[in-house]
């Protein structure tokens, strides 16, 4: 006789809300008439994500292991779940924007129609949208919520797939420059499948070495015999799989192409939410399961952080496309985040965990805002991504230029913005743990990276507008909400970060 394990439905509620909304969304696709689908899907997606956000707030303070030990609902889980659900809701708003593009959406009418075919040209002007993006985005968010809560390598792997598959799909659904978008989707899919295989192989080896996939059992096995060759190999492969998702160099090669090719709202979603989820999993894996075997992964993460910061900052300098530039910026920021991961002491001491979580919030909000501004500046061919087209934007549209400058300053880490507070927190955590060489490299990399952010600001304010430059669209309500929230938060977290820092500090205890 098999006894079913206990499920705490309260602790699972954020996950159930999002995945439930996603399943209803699939049914809506099947049964609702075409004209009502878009509003219904948007409403459903917002209900799911905002509901999950509220649920995590109500759950604050919960510390339990549920679902037969497969799920750990603790401070970091809830903090990161709230971040993912909140950023996810904002991304859904960006998805729902209908007044910027003359064709009324950033998403394709029908993904199955071959790009460039007569039928495709015919459909460009219709106002229909492939509304499956909303349930797919919800599935991705559900996967991310599970990913940061997984207390079991097997659940972590399934969550990794649940969050990845929808992302591969929706990256290929841009309405304009469809071939570029489809190429991005194929690249992301192939490299992502490769990374998943690494993760799975690592999982098998760790299971072989420790006899369990439960993080707690792995820790006990690691503590008892301090691991062997098999465990180290397995850990290495697991980390490779996770660093790929977090787009840490040298596993970042997909990032620029996918960020550039995917529809901009999807890029914003990937840049903000995927990073939070990936780092949540990295932190949990390294500290809950392998905290006792720090010597195995600390050098690895140390090296990856340095490579990532340098690659992101230096290659970011050479970019002429804003989306690619933000992609390399995302690689550099992954390096800064790893600095915070290093700054977490083995015994759970040190402020590394809280600092990393705070950094994830600030980076997510800022990068989401930056991509939202990118969707506003357009020319006849869609978004005007080339740097030269942004020349003199400050004169043409002062408000847009000012908001973009705020986000760029925050990404560069200039004081009084959220980016500065976040960077300060992770660097301090690293120095406290004695990783000052890493902090020095991080400071130098920040200085280099600041150059390419400031270059855009200089270009916007101090050069003459180009003759046939892009137009700045008037955003509809959804994008306006996103811009207002992200800009306010970027400023507020820069000036008065205390409340959120405290919250992150109080949440920063793993249960395992």
């Amino acid at each position: 006789m098999i006894d079913a394990p206990d499920f705490s439905f309260a602790a699972l509620s954020p996950l159930l809300l999002v995945l439930g909304a996603a399943c209803i969304g699939v049914l809506v696709e099947a049964f609702a008439p075409r004209d009502v689908r878009h509003p219904v899907q948007v409403g459903l997606a917002l209900t799911g994500t905002v509901g999950a956000f509220v649920a995590t707030l109500l759950l604050a303070g919960t510390r339990e292991v549920t679902a037969g030990g497969a799920l750990a609902v603790d401070g970091p889980t809830l903090f990161l779940q709230a971040t993912i659900a909140g950023l996810g809701a904002l991304s859904i708003l960006l998805f729902a924007e209908r007044s910027l593009d003359p064709a009324r959406s950033a998403f394709v009418v029908s993904a199955a129609v071959p790009a460039g075919s007569p039928r495709d040209r015919e459909l460009v002007t219709t106002q229909r949208v492939q509304t499956e993006v909303y349930p797919l985005a919800l599935f991705a968010i559900g996967g991310m919520l599970l990913f940061v809560a997984a207390n079991d390598l097997l659940v972590m792997f399934v969550a990794l797939e649940v969050l990845s598959l929808p992302l591969y799909l929706i990256s290929g659904m841009a309405r304009r420059r469809r071939l570029l978008s489809q190429e991005a989707a194929v690249k992301y899919f192939l490299l992502g499948a490769f990374a998943s295989a690494f993760f799975l192989y690592g999982l098998a080896l760790v299971y072989g070495a420790t006899g369990s996939v439960r993080l707690r059992d792995i820790r006990e096995a690691v503590t008892a015999e301090s691991g062997g060759v098999l465990m180290v190999l397995g850990l290495g492969l697991l980390v490779v799989g996770l660093l790929f998702k977090a787009s840490v160099a040298p596993f970042h090669s997909w990032t620029p192409d996918v960020y550039q090719g995917a529809p901009t709202p999807v890029t914003a979603f990937m840049a903000a939410c995927t990073k939070v989820a990936a780092f949540g999993a990295i932190l949990r894996l390294l500290y809950v399961a392998f905290g006792a075997a720090e010597w195995t992964w600390r050098p690895l993460i140390y090296a990856a952080a340095i490579i990532s910061m340098i690659v992101g900052a230096v290659l970011g300098l050479t970019q002429t496309d804003l989306k690619r530039m933000l992609a390399y910026s995302s690689v550099a920021h992954a390096g800064f985040l790893l600095t915070g991961v290093i700054g977490f002491g083995a015994g759970g001491d040190g402020s590394g965990l809280a600092a990393t979580m705070f950094y994830l919030v600030t980076y997510g909000l800022t990068t989401l805002g930056a991509f939202a501004v990118l969707t506003l500046v357009r020319d006849g061919d869609g978004e005007a991504g080339h740097l030269s087209q942004w020349a003199g934007l400050g004169a043409r549209s002062p408000l847009t230029a000012a908001v973009m400058s705020l986000f760029l300053l925050a990404l560069a880490g200039i004081p009084l913005t959220a980016g500065f507070t976040g960077k300060f927190a992770v660097f301090r955590a690293a120095i406290e743990q004695g990783a000052w060489p890493l902090a020095v490299v991080a400071l130098l990399a920040s200085a280099v990276a600041a150059f390419f952010y400031l270059r855009v600001i200089v270009l916007m304010y101090f050069s003459d507008p180009v003759a046939d430059g892009p137009t700045v669209g008037v955003p509809g309500l959804p994008t306006t909400i996103v811009l207002a929230v992200t800009a306010t938060a970027t400023l507020a977290l820069g000036i008065l970060p205390g409340a959120v820092l405290d919250l992150a500090g109080r949440a920063a205890i793993f249960v395992g």
């Binding site: 098999i2 497969a70 996967g143 097997l154 399934v158 929808p166 591969y168 072989g208 060759v229």
Partner: protein
């Protein structure tokens, strides 16, 4: 057997099976990588997977063995072949290197990685005692229950969440497949048989289009049909295929060569006949 004497002797049968099927599995893997034809690759892979399935069964894991055969060899390989046939089994990858030296670097790094992992695993597992299923299996029903019951017990207790979330994965896969292949028809855009028929009779050509030309020297659909005067019949061109130039039988044209209709038939003058020793003129006059 007591735990103190841990260690099961590997039976002769198991050893024999291993030494026979091991090389077979390896040959299948190599054949899969090395064969040029994609269908052959897939079939080599079937060989490897079947061998692995037998290994699992021999190692007291009948469930895993059955899953290996049913899921991998059955479902996934059929899917592979299906896709290969859809794409066209003749289509091959371009062998042009877009990044110079990429292939050599990939080979070197891949071999290095394989050596690293292989050596690591070999070192970690070289002196492991063989325990047998009963020693390692916990789970429902105690150690003496079979492998299948144990897997079922774990699936519905310990890994229930993973099992359930896999459902979400399957939904995503189904929606994704539909998304990438299903073109939704405009409502009301589908014509009835009657409307189609009416529309056809309003055109200049209510009858069916001519088929491709099947000459004595061509069997391809790309060969165009010929009109009575020898021109190509453009209606017979297959959609999306360039009409192919087909070498025609020598065809006498013009008064000078043809002369009278009898001459055109080759039955007037023996000298015009191209059949040596064949039909000769005046016999049937």
């Amino acid at each position: 057997m007591t735990p103190e004497t841990a260690g099961v002797v590997i039976g002769t049968g198991e050893a024999v099976i291993f030494w026979i099927l091991g090389p077979v599995a390896l040959a299948g893997a190599l054949g899969m990588v090395l064969s040029r034809n994609a269908v052959h690759s897939a079939l080599w892979l079937v060989l490897t997977m079947l061998s692995l399935g037998v290994f699992y069964v021999v190692q007291e894991a009948p469930f895993l063995g059955a899953v290996q055969v049913i899921v991998y060899t059955g479902a996934i390989m059929i899917l592979f072949l299906f896709v290969l046939m859809l794409v066209g089994r003749d289509s091959s990858d371009s062998v042009v290197e877009t990044l110079r030296g990429q292939r050599v670097a990939a080979l070197a790094l891949g071999a290095g990685f394989a050596a690293l992992v292989g050596a690591g695993i070999a070192r970690a597992t070289q002196d492991l005692p063989v325990l047998g299923l009963e020693q390692v299996q916990g789970g429902v029903g105690g150690p003496s229950s079979g492998n299948v019951e144990a897997v079922a017990g774990l699936l519905y207790t310990r890994y229930l969440l993973a099992f359930e979330v896999t459902g979400a994965l399957l939904i995503v896969a189904a929606v994704g497949a539909l998304l990438l292949t299903h073109v939704e028809r405009e409502p009301g855009s589908r014509q009835t048989q009657k409307e189609l028929s009416r529309a056809r009779f309003l055109t200049d050509r209510p009858q069916t289009l001519p088929g491709p030309g099947v000459h004595a020297r061509a069997t391809s659909v790309a060969a165009p049909a010929l009109l009575p005067d020898g021109r190509l019949a453009e209606d017979s061109f297959a959609t999306g295929i360039e009409p192919e130039q087909v070498e025609q039988m020598p065809r006498p044209t013009g008064r000078e060569q043809l002369g009278s209709p009898d001459a055109a038939l080759g039955s007037l003058d023996p000298t015009l006949s191209d059949t040596p020793g064949g039909r000769t003129g005046g016999e049937h006059r």
